[in-house]
Structures are given as structure tokens and as C-alpha cells.
């Protein structure tokens, strides 16, 4: 106790740590020199003089570009300026991080010297950096990839939602302008747009619920049937049933598109010759198209849930069933009171994940019938079976209403993040995360 007190008192007598932190704050690396760490100090000074400072005007220029989005049409390209601006913001944050780390380093080493200790030489510092910097080092490649191909596009998309970027205002011929919340108001309050948005949203939700429930119901049913050890060739049957999952869905959807063709498709031929049902307009009537989409999705999707539920069934504890048999429960009772609750408990988070997935299940909607048939009075090219995400795609690549598409995708994003985060905080991976702390 006494010892420690003395040490703290001694510490107070010299203030080298403050001077070195101050010097490093004024100019990167000077504080390190002050601490006697020559190589590190010189390296930081060189980095600051020849890399960071000469580029600061460029960064400022790009910030300005991000705010104004250019001034002269044909010369300034608003989209490029936006991308450069976002990259510059990210770089500026990185420089800030290095700068703060430099001040903290100067303070830390100053403290060691104040305590009468000896600062490490360059080699020691390098070894230290390799140690504490190890996680950052291995994160670097992944983060660079994420920053450029996920983070940057996302920020770009968010910014576009607040501009007037569409067919009539497209760079480089025009300079983009920020328009505030106008796009959101247009989409959500203009009567025809609001009506389209409402109907598309309702179908999106109905579709997500139907797609999730049908695939899990059928998948679960088949899994339970096949769990009966008296069935022969179970392994081969399972393998054959997994086939729709194993074929790339892009291909099988197009195959179904051909088979469902109203005039020449094999499905209608079978229906005509076997059940004498005349040609069903699978792709011309929105109701039939919706039925077709749900059924094709069932074909595509049930193997996945079958596999998952088979895995859960095989992991169920045996002793519970033995206890139930001793208590005189029959097969149905065992299923109703043991299997069903346990399986439902295990798949509850999966159901929500699946709902979120189907909410943005672009492929089947777009590839099967392009979201069509068209509906009279719908805005922005939306068809009778379009879900939000496929409508966004059409707005972007067919109608070139980039601003509305971006605004809408932001709305979708907020909806998805809302219930996904709620769901995710309850999964195993996240809970284990909590336990580690």
C-alpha cells in the first residue's frame, strides 16, 4: 500500500506524458521523438508529411463534391463525385483513427518514461504491434472487400434516395440535386403510387407467410414420415427428394416457366387430357400466377426444411420417448406432446429467417413471370405478382427511377432489419456471444 502510494507520488512529479501527447497532437510523430523512439517517430513524421498532408486538399475537394454533387454538367459526373466523396469520408475516418492512436501511443510511452521505465526500441515496438495489431491485420483484407462491395454501395444507395436521380436527371448530362425527403413523400403520399405501394406490400407479406408456411409444413410432414425406421430405402428416398434443392434454382424456375406455359406447357396438357380442365392462364391471370408461384416455390423449398427438420428429429433425446412408452403413451400422443413442441421450438427462429428471406425472394418472382401480369393503374411498372424487391428492380432497370427505387429499398431495409435484429438477438450464435463477455 505504502509502496504504491509512493509510486503514484513520483509519477506526479514529471509531466513528460502530457508534453509528448501534446507534441504528437500538433504533429504526428514528434511526441515519439520526444520519448526517444527515433525510428517510430521518423516513420510517423514521414507518413504525415508525404502521404497524409499532401492528400488533405484532395479529401477536402471530394467532401465538397459529395455535398454539391458538381457544378458544371458534362464536366462533373455527380455519381463519380458521390463515390469519391464516400471513399474520402472513409479514408478521413481512417486517418483520424491513426492520429488518435498516435497520440495515445505518445501518452502511453511518456507514462512509462515518467515512471522511470525504459521505452521499447523499434524492434520491441514492432513485436508489440504485431501482437496487439494481429486482429486488425487479419481483418484488413475482409474489411476492404466489405467496405467496397457492401458498405460503399449501401451508403451510395442511401444518398441516392435523397436525390433527384432518374431518367430525366441522369449524369453526366445533368447535375444531381439533393431533394430531402421528397422521394419518400412521393412514393408514400401520391395517391396512385401509395395505392401501388400498399398493394405490393400486402402481397409481399402474404407471399412471405405463404411461402414459409407451405415449405415448412410439407418439409416437416415428409421428414416425420421418413423418420419411421420401418420405411425401406430411406436414404435413397431422401437423396432423391433433395434434388430440387441441389439443382440451381435459376435453372429449375426457368424449366417450370416452360412447363407452365399456357398454350404449349406440359402441365396444361396433362390437366386437359387427364382431368379435362381447359387451359389455365397461369401467366395471364394474377390469381393463377400467384398460385403457380407458391406451388413452384413449394417444389423448390420443401427439401431445405425437410433436411433441417430431419436433422432436428435425429437429435431429439431418446430417453424422453422411452419414459413416455413406460408411461403408456401411444405413437400419436408421443408425436403430439413430445416431437411437435420440441421441433416447433427449434424451428421458430428458422421460420422468421425464412420469412425475411422470402420477403426479398427476387429470383422466383422475377424469373417465373417477371412480376406480371400487368395491372391497370399500377405505377412504376409494378405487375400483379411483383413483390417490393422485384418492383425496386423494375424501377431501377426498366423505368430508371433510381431515386424512387433507392427510397423504397431503404424502406424495405428498415422493415427487414427491424424483425431480423429482434430474431437474431435470440439465436444461439448471439447468445453465446453474450456469455463470453
Amino acid at each position: 500500500m505504502q509502496q504504491q502510494f509512493k509510486l503514484e507520488k513520483k509519477e506526479l512529479q514529471s509531466f513528460g506524458r502530457y508534453s509528448s501527447a501534446f507534441l504528437s497532437a500538433v504533429f504526428m510523430g514528434v511526441g515519439q521523438l520526444f520519448n526517444g523512439q527515433w525510428l517510430k517517430g521518423i516513420f510517423l513524421i514521414l507518413l504525415n508529411t508525404f502521404v497524409i498532408i499532401p492528400n488533405l486538399p484532395v479529401l477536402l475537394q471530394n467532401f465538397k463534391g459529395l455535398i454539391t454533387l458538381g457544378e458544371i454538367p458534362m464536366e462533373d459526373h455527380s455519381l463519380f463525385m458521390m463515390i469519391y466523396g464516400i471513399i474520402s469520408v472513409i479514408l478521413a475516418l481512417l486517418i483520424l483513427f491513426i492520429y488518435i492512436a498516435n497520440i495515445r501511443d505518445a501518452y502511453k510511452n511518456g507514462l512509462i518514461k515518467d515512471k522511470g521505465g525504459k521505452t521499447k526500441g523499434f524492434k520491441g515496438a514492432l513485436r508489440d504491434m504485431m501482437d496487439s495489431g494481429f486482429p486488425y491485420l487479419i481483418l484488413l483484407p475482409g474489411f476492404i472487400c466489405i467496405i467496397f462491395f457492401t458498405l460503399l454501395p449501401m451508403v451510395f444507395n442511401i444518398l441516392i434516395a435523397f436525390t433527384n436521380y432518374d431518367l430525366y436527371h441522369s449524369p453526366p448530362k445533368h447535375i444531381l440535386k439533393y431533394v430531402g425527403l421528397k422521394n419518400f413523400f412521393d412514393v408514400l403520399t401520391t395517391t396512385t403510387w401509395a395505392r401501388t405501394f400498399k398493394n405490393v406490400l400486402i402481397w409481399t407479406i402474404i407471399w412471405s407467410v405463404l411461402a414459409t408456411l407451405t415449405t415448412y409444413a410439407l418439409g416437416g410432414f415428409v421428414a416425420v414420415l421418413l423418420n419411421n425406421p420401418r420405411i425401406k430405402f430411406r436414404k435413397i428416398i431422401r437423396t432423391l427428394l433433395i434434388l430440387p434443392y441441389a439443382i440451381p434454382s435459376f435453372i429449375s424456375i426457368l424449366i417450370w416457366k416452360g412447363m407452365l406455359n399456357t398454350h404449349f406447357g406440359v402441365i396444361n396438357k396433362i390437366l386437359t387430357s387427364v382431368f379435362s380442365i381447359q387451359n389455365i392462364p397461369w401467366f395471364e391471370n394474377a390469381h393463377y400466377t400467384k398460385v403457380a408461384i407458391v406451388l413452384v416455390n413449394l417444389w423448390l423449398g420443401f427439401p431445405y426444411s425437410m433436411m433441417l427438420i430431419t436433422g432436428i428429429l435425429q437429435g431429439l433425446p431418446n430417453d424422453v420417448y422411452e419414459a413416455a412408452t413406460v408411461d403408456g403413451a401411444n405413437g400419436l400422443q408421443k408425436f403430439r406432446y413430445i416431437t411437435l413442441p420440441l421441433v416447433l421450438f427449434a424451428i421458430a427462429p428458422l421460420l422468421i429467417m425464412s420469412f425475411a428471406y422470402n420477403f426479398n425472394n427476387f429470383n422466383i418472382i422475377y424469373l417465373l413471370n417477371n412480376g406480371n401480369p400487368p395491372i391497370f393503374g399500377y405505377q412504376g411498372g409494378a405487375g400483379g405478382t411483383d413483390i417490393l424487391i422485384s418492383w425496386v428492380y423494375k424501377l431501377t432497370f426498366e423505368k430508371l427511377k433510381f431515386n424512387y427505387a433507392a427510397a423504397m429499398s431503404l424502406i424495405i431495409f428498415i422493415l427487414i432489419v427491424g424483425f431480423s435484429v429482434y430474431n437474431f438477438t435470440r439465436t444461439k450464435s448471439y447468445k453465446e456471444e453474450e456469455m463470453l463477455r
Partner: protein, 282 residues
């Protein structure tokens, strides 16, 4: 009592077999139908008769695929892109997940949540930005650009998958290694990574398969027909003219689906294990 019980069991079993039979027919029908169509000498959708055994069988469509179209080149491109994006994804995901699972550093929690949110942003909405970005750095219409797009999109989700799996490996293992004087790199390469091999293979397979099924990004990035992947090429066969090239499409789609299907079916136990065990989904 005994006999009625076994009778009920028998009926149940019979029903089960009947139901499974119907399921098998429904599952296999499109595949068989496509195969039959691909052997049909005609070209169009409606020339295919309603019989499972066509009168004339021809392998012409398969020959024509390689002789008269760029199908062979597309096949090669797809395999090239698939291998590259699988390798890049696995390396980046393993490193990132290792840092999150086994290391403690400033900003760890925040980055994890950020990755979680990022992977929820649908890829389709990134298309415009990715196009502009690739244009800017000159990677438009290159396979490298496409590989980076696939890998970049796959990292956040798969990192969570891998991190969940790594969290299950006991900490005592690397503590022992560190006491024995092993450095960070050695511990990672020699101790932890070999144990993650099952999940590594799952991620490798998933990211290998992705280029076979994606045509949106491939079509966005690749414009020259000789650089296309299978999905873009196949879509081109039938875009808007189903009645013209259907048999050709049938042959091509079977060949395109073959490697992926075999891979999935032969690895099904591994994939199911990967999906149910360490996964974010469970």
C-alpha cells in the same frame, strides 16, 4: 387387439409409401421432362409431344451446344469464376471470423453488429453502385470484378456462420498452444483452422455453387458474350422466345446443373450438418 394394431400399422405404412411415391413423381417429373425435351429432335416447346418416351431420340442439341454456341466457353468461365470466388471467400471469411471469434480488440462488438446489419441489405439494391464503382476502377466486363462482387457480398453472412462454428471450439486449446510458445499465426494455422474444416468446406461449396445460379450480377458486370457465365448464356437462349430454343435450353440447363447437383447430393450430410450445427440460422 394385437392384429388390429398391426393392421393399423400396415395401413399407415401403405399410406406413407403411397405419399412418398407421389412426392417422388412430383419431384422427379420436371427433371425427366427436361431430359426428354433435350432429346427431342424439334426445337420448340410445343413440338414436344406429351409422351415420356419420344419417338425419335437425338443427341443433336448437346452437340450443337458446343459446336454452334459459346456454351463450352461459358462453362469454362463459370468454373473459373466459381473456383476463384470460392477461394477468395474462404480465405477472407476464415481470417475475419478468426479475429472475431478468438481475438478481443477495440471496436469488435460494433463491427459484428455492423456486419449483421450489412448482410441484410439486399444485394440487388447495391447493383447501381457496384456498376458505377466497377466502371470507375476499370473492372467492368472482367471476371475479376465479378469474383470480387461475389466474395464481397458473401463475406458478412458467412463470417457469422464461421464465427458461430469457431465459438464452439474450446478456448483451452489455443491457451495451451500459447503457453507452449506458439505465436498468433502458428496457433491460428496449426491449431484452430484445421478444426474448422467442416464449416470451411460448407462455405467453399456454397460459394462455389453461387456463380452457377446467379445471373443478375453476372449480366450486370459481363457484357461481352464470350465472357458470360452459364446463367447469362442460358437465359439468353430463351429470353422472350421460349418457343424457339426450348430444346436447346433443356440440354444446356441439364449440363449446367449437373456438377452442382452432384456436388450437393454427394455432400448432403456435410451440408446438413453445417446448416444445423454452428449456423446463424439455428
Amino acid at each position: 387387439m394385437k392384429s388390429s394394431h398391426s393392421l393399423r400399422e400396415g395401413i399407415k405404412l401403405l399410406f406413407t409409401y403411397f405419399f412418398i411415391l407421389i412426392m417422388l413423381i412430383i419431384v422427379l417429373f420436371p427433371v425427366v421432362w427436361t431430359f426428354v425435351s433435350s432429346l427431342n429432335p424439334g426445337q420448340s416447346l410445343y413440338s414436344s409431344e406429351l409422351s415420356l418416351i419420344p419417338k425419335d431420340i437425338t443427341w443433336n442439341h448437346y452437340k450443337k451446344l458446343f459446336k454452334e454456341t459459346d456454351f463450352g466457353i461459358w462453362y469454362k468461365n463459370t468454373i473459373k469464376v466459381a473456383f476463384a470466388s470460392s477461394a477468395v471467400t474462404v480465405i477472407l471469411v476464415t481470417l475475419t471470423a478468426y479475429a472475431f471469434s478468438r481475438q478481443r480488440f477495440a471496436g469488435r462488438k460494433q463491427s459484428l453488429v455492423a456486419m449483421l446489419v450489412l448482410q441484410m441489405f439486399p444485394g440487388i439494391m447495391n447493383m447501381v453502385a457496384i456498376y458505377v464503382l466497377l466502371n470507375l476502377i476499370g473492372l467492368l466486363d472482367t471476371h475479376l470484378g465479378l469474383v470480387l462482387v461475389y466474395a464481397g457480398g458473401a463475406i458478412p453472412y458467412n463470417t457469422w456462420l464461421m464465427k458461430g462454428y469457431m465459438d464452439g471450439i474450446p478456448k483451452s486449446l489455443e491457451e495451451a498452444a500459447l503457453i507452449d510458445g506458439a505465436g498468433n499465426w502458428t496457433t491460428m494455422w496449426k491449431i484452430i483452422l484445421p478444426l474448422t474444416l467442416p464449416m470451411t468446406s460448407v462455405i467453399a461449396i456454397f460459394s462455389f455453387v453461387a456463380p452457377f445460379g446467379d445471373f443478375l450480377f453476372a449480366r450486370l458486370v459481363l457484357t461481352t458474350p464470350t465472357k458470360w457465365t452459364l446463367a447469362v448464356g442460358l437465359n439468353d437462349f430463351i429470353s422472350g422466345k421460349f418457343d424457339k430454343n426450348y430444346t436447346q435450353f433443356a440440354a444446356g440447363s441439364l449440363l449446367a446443373a449437373l456438377p452442382v447437383t452432384i456436388l450437393y447430393l454427394s455432400m448432403q450430410n456435410l451440408l446438413i450438418g453445417g446448416l444445423t450445427k454452428g449456423s446463424v440460422k439455428g
